[in-house]
């Protein structure tokens, strides 16, 4: 119980008390508190556990840099995981739970692990649990690791919101420099967005003494905010600019009370980075104990929240900022001592178990204390500069990587540019922005001396708090030759925790430099990537999801299908009738009825891409495997379209309406890709020829009538197609309307595809179904169609073919042997790979073990000298409708030559036997087409 609250001061409202729970214990605070300030004021010290050693940890920082304390926050029914308690405003009634500790931070079950710390250095898990198999150990290790706990019973979180915004300039960081820059830009006539990840604007002015333009910091801030408002600047607090992406895009995530986060996408003319700098800790034995805070965080808790870090405080700094912290603590009544490490005295070690109780200095002196505030210098927050491609230079005087001028389009100001005093930062503004007057501040001095972790340091000296990386781990990495900064990171996990090493990366690479005789710039930094801080996935997703992510295409006849009791399902992006019954038994019944009498199905999604013009025939000869130019007007021809690699891309019937007008009937799920393929080759190969391509699929509805009674149905429906032979097409009438009829069959039975303008679909459907019912048939769904086509060995591309399938594998050799014209993919079909005799080929399969239907996906297995290997797999499997047994199709090695052989199939631990047959189970002579 060390930290305490002063009776007055700070920006909290003592008339508005609030309370929340932390690991079940009640914590009191006031409006204006952050969770961190209220927790600190409560005297709680152990608020979290480190990731690996389960060390007790307290608050270190006061903002986004916080490495130690993360909590799952449940508020008003919503659960927010892995929140930094330092950045969130305390809310009455919130329930917080420390991340990565069970049951709580104080009582963590695995806190014994730290006793074995010296046996588990970097790489311990990888080295130890490799044998016999990492996967044996993975579950229990994973259970110990991890951070926030997802509540599986919780309904989906709030849907994220997104906004595209337009402005001239985005200024990141609403500290004094960012505010001054925003004012200069806005008063110069630009539209400006100014964002800050804190709860209110002001940055360092909220906690540090400053005199600007003769005013004290608070007064200057108040008038500056009024001027910002007058100038129309959009000021966003609790908003983190977390990423700069290609072509000048900057992304912001705004946290909002009681609402989902708002994700901003802005492409401004200028990005101005004034995000300040982050204070580094100091290296000494047990520098991770609760009660050891960043000095600037200590100052922030004191000035903003009236919380004093301790009664007896040791301040240790390697730079000028320690003085102000010392004065502030003494003014607040604490007993405070400043160790200025520049004068040669340093802290060697800290004492204490659950919190710091004293320090021992390099002079041998021991000081009892209940808090230590450390400042190891400042690391500029250059992330957005680096993300946008900017380079860094090492500033040996400031001991910081600063942006190389001109190396990115991001304008860097203030602490980001290594200007750690206001006077210096303001003085650089006019030149950086190309604008006139900047504010003036009193000159201050900032001198810093090295205080890097050193090789051979005694005790346990933490570098990365969150991931428990110590000096010894970096030394181990050196011994094992992981000396590149990227290897160091991955081997020790330095900087790979959720804080991304904001307080630790530089010390790690400074130590590696010292170990390997290199300077810090020679060691270099790892790559900076977005996001700067964790961003909820809901923000990235925004309102996209479900139907908005993947909108389903709807049939013109959906209302008719639903009225008829259809069960609808998605097929290739279209919502189509699965069947019209109460359960799946309807599928076989519909298929059998279509074989016996007639079935009517909605074939509207079938592709209908029109290719028109004088040169259309020549063009189609090129894009099809089959010769299409010899097709007579009014006739149809089945064919394949290949990729240039010779793989079957799509199949379907080409219709030639007249000399210069074709319709490509591609698979319903391939319309977009076939359309794009046609356009690409037209524009690339035939740019000045007369070819027009138009996708008529969306404006056309197609109803197919199939079965022995198909012609009778057409006659009843008043559609004249009696003279039409198989594989022919023509125009006829539906009442006074134009109707195109193509006699092609995907079922093996006499079939008519009837196409009309989309708005006439209900008329056609109702007429056809009524006529079919009068003939003893009726509507059928897609699953019944799948049975009918499989019985005939008619393939579905992508189901009965894969990314290796050439047309010869499907039994189509003739075009390759006979076609004269060149075509897409031709040369690939004569490559040795395509001509291999042991290719997987389309076959029919019949169960040879009396066990019923073969499972789709079952692999044919061949055992050779005890070794098993796959010889292909089952692609489609159905209960027959026109035949009284199960049938299946598959792609099996050398399948075409093996009809009559039996093979073994393996599937999910079961073994089946199947007989290979020709891929046509019904009416191989095609007599039913004219039945």
């Amino acid at each position: 119980m060390s930290a305490y609250r002063l009776p007055q001061g700070g920006e909290i409202d003592r008339t508005q008390p609030l309370s929340f729970t932390y690991d079940g214990r009640t914590v009191q605070g006031f409006a204006g508190d952050s969770y961190a300030s209220a927790l600190l004021a409560s005297g709680e010290t152990v608020l979290g556990r480190s990731f690996k050693y389960r060390r007790p940890r307290g608050i270190f920082g006061a903002g986004v840099e916080e490495p130690n304390i993360h909590a799952d926050i449940r508020l008003n029914g919503a659960l927010h995981l892995n929140q930094r308690v330092t950045t969130e405003a305390a809310q009455n009634g919130a329930q917080l739970r420390a991340c990565g500790a069970a049951p709580g931070a104080r009582s963590d079950r695995t806190r014994f692990v730290d006793l074995f710390a010296r046996f588990i250095p970097s790489g311990f898990y990888y080295k130890t649990f490799m044998r016999p198999n990492w996967h044996l150990f993975e579950p229990s290790i994973r259970a110990m690791a991890g951070l926030g706990r997802v509540d599986a019973t919780q309904p989906e979180g709030m849907q994220g919101e997104q906004r595209n915004h337009h402005c001239d300039a985005v200024v990141v960081g609403a500290g004094p420099v960012g505010i001054a820059a925003a004012l200069m830009l806005a008063e110069g006539g630009l539209s400006v967005v100014l964002c800050d990840d804190g709860t209110r604007p002001g940055g360092s002015l909220l906690s540090r003494v400053a005199v600007i333009d003769g005013m004290d910091g608070a007064a200057w801030l108040a008038q500056a905010l009024a001027r910002l408002n007058a100038a129309g600047v959009t000021l966003l607090t609790r908003t983190t600019a977390f990423g700069v992406y290609d072509h000048g895009l900057i992304a912001l995530n705004q946290r909002r009370e009681g609402q989902a986060d708002l994700f901003w996408r802005i492409r401004p003319q200028q990005i101005v980075l004034a995000a300040g700098a982050i204070e580094r800790p100091l290296p000494f034995d047990r520098n991770d104990l609760p009660g050891i805070l960043s000095a600037q965080a200590g100052l922030t808790y004191l000035r903003r929240y009236a919380v004093v870090a301790g009664k007896r405080v040791v301040i240790a700094a390697n730079n000028d900022t320690g003085e102000e912290v010392l004065r502030a603590l003494r003014d607040a009544g604490a007993e405070a001592t400043l160790i200025d490490t520049r004068k040669g005295t340093t802290i060697l070690s800290a004492q204490g178990r659950q919190q710091v109780t004293g320090v021992t200095l390099s002079t041998g002196e021991a000081i009892a204390c209940d808090a230590v505030l450390v400042s190891g210098g400042f690391t500029p927050t250059i992330h957005l500069h680096a993300q946008s491609g900017g380079k860094l230079d090492w500033d040996a005087a400031k001991l910081a990587f600063v942006p190389r001028p001109g190396s990115s389009k991001v304008i860097t100001l203030g602490g980001v540019a290594g200007h750690f005093t206001l006077a210096e930062a303001f003085a650089a503004l006019p030149a950086a922005l190309g604008l006139g007057q900047a504010p003036q501040a009193e000159p201050q001095s900032y001198r810093v001396a090295e205080a890097w972790p050193k090789p051979g340091m005694k005790g346990r000296v933490w570098i990365d708090y969150q991931h428990d990386v110590t000096v010894k781990d970096v030394e181990l990495a050196r011994r094992e030759n992981f000396i590149s900064v990227e290897h160091l990171k991955r081997y020790t996990t330095l900087g790979m925790a959720t804080d991304q090493g904001k307080t630790s990366n530089l010390q790690g690479l400074a130590l590696m430099g010292a170990l390997t005789g290199r300077t810090i710039p020679e060691v270099g930094t790892t790559t900076y990537r977005p996001p700067f801080t964790p961003v909820p996935l809901a923000s990235f997703a925004g309102p996209r999801g479900g139907a908005r992510m993947n909108p389903v295409r709807r049939l013109a006849l959906e209302a008719q299908h639903r009225a008829a009791g259809a069960k609808m399902g998605e097929y290739g992006g279209w919502l189509r009738p699965i069947h019209y019954g109460t359960d799946d038994s309807a599928i076989l019944a519909e298929a059998k009825r279509a074989r016996a009498t007639v079935g009517v199905y909605d074939a509207s999604p079938l592709g209908k891409i029109e290719v028109m013009g004088r040169d259309a025939a020549e063009f189609l000869d090129f894009v099809y495997y089959n010769t299409m130019s010899t097709l007579k007007p009014g006739r149809c021809r089945y064919g394949f379209m290949l990729t240039e690699g010779g793989i079957v891309h799509d199949d379907g019937v080409l219709v030639r309406l007249d000399e210069g007008r074709f319709i490509v009937s591609c698979s319903s799920s391939h319309v977009a890709s076939v359309h794009a393929l046609l356009e690409e080759w037209r524009q690339d190969r035939y740019p000045d020829r007369q070819i027009w391509i138009h996708d008529a699929t969306p404006e056309t509805a197609t109803v197919t009538v199939t079965g022995p009674k198909a012609l009778a149905v057409l006659e009843r429906a008043g559609i004249d197609a009696a003279e039409l032979p198989h594989m022919a097409t023509g125009w006829t009438q539906l009442d006074e309307h134009e109707l195109r009829v193509s006699r092609v069959s995907f079922t093996g039975d006499r079939s008519y595809e009837l196409s009309v303008r989309q708005d006439l679909a209900p008329l056609l459907w109702d007429r056809a179904v009524a006529a079919a019912e009068a003939e003893g048939g009726g509507a059928m769904g897609i699953e019944a169609l799948m049975i009918l086509r499989a019985e005939k060995g008619f393939i579905v591309i992508g189901k009965d073919t894969d990314g290796m399938t050439r047309p010869m594998d499907l039994g189509s050799d003739a075009p390759l042997l006979r076609k004269k014209a060149d075509f897409l993919g031709r040369r690939s079909l004569t490559l040795p790979e395509a001509q291999r005799p042991d290719r997987n080929q389309l076959v029919g399969l019949l169960p040879a073990d009396g066990q019923g239907m073969l499972p789709v996906g079952a692999h044919g297995v061949e055992t050779h000298q005890g070794a098993k290997r796959s010889i292909g797999y089952v692609t489609s499997s159905h209960q027959g409708a026109g035949v009284d047994h199960p049938i299946a199709l598959g792609l099996i090695e050398r399948g075409a030559q093996r009809h009559g052989e039996e093979i073994i199939l393996h599937h999910l631990g079961t073994t089946r036997r199947a007989k290979l047959v020709a891929p046509c189970f019904l009416d191989p002579n095609g007599d039913r087409l004219d039945a």
Partner: protein, 87 residues
């Protein structure tokens, strides 16, 4: 998110575009007599340049196929150029 410029529609977000391969990867003439090596190179070998690249892209909303020069390092993208005509 990059902004590409279709010669037909102007600047649009990259998600509307589909990559069509390297420009200048011409289809070998000669049909069945093209040596297998040449055909395999046409199918599979790419320069994957670091820096300046000339590429074919399709704007999937208007289906315009065009040539775009861009820099794979700086991610700079020049406005797309309409295809020139018969090669």
């Amino acid at each position: 998110m990059q902004i590409f410029s279709c010669p037909f529609c102007g600047p649009r977000p990259e998600t509307e575009f589909h990559f069509g391969g390297e420009a200048g990867n011409d289809r070998p003439h000669g049909g069945a007599s093209v040596p297998a090596q040449d055909w395999a190179a046409y199918l599979h070998l790419r320069h994957n340049p670091k820096g300046a690249a000339r590429e074919i892209w399709m704007h999937t909303t208007c289906l315009e196929v065009f040539v775009m020069e861009r820099d794979t390092l700086s991610m700079r993208a020049e406005p797309g150029q309409a295809l020139g005509g018969h090669a």
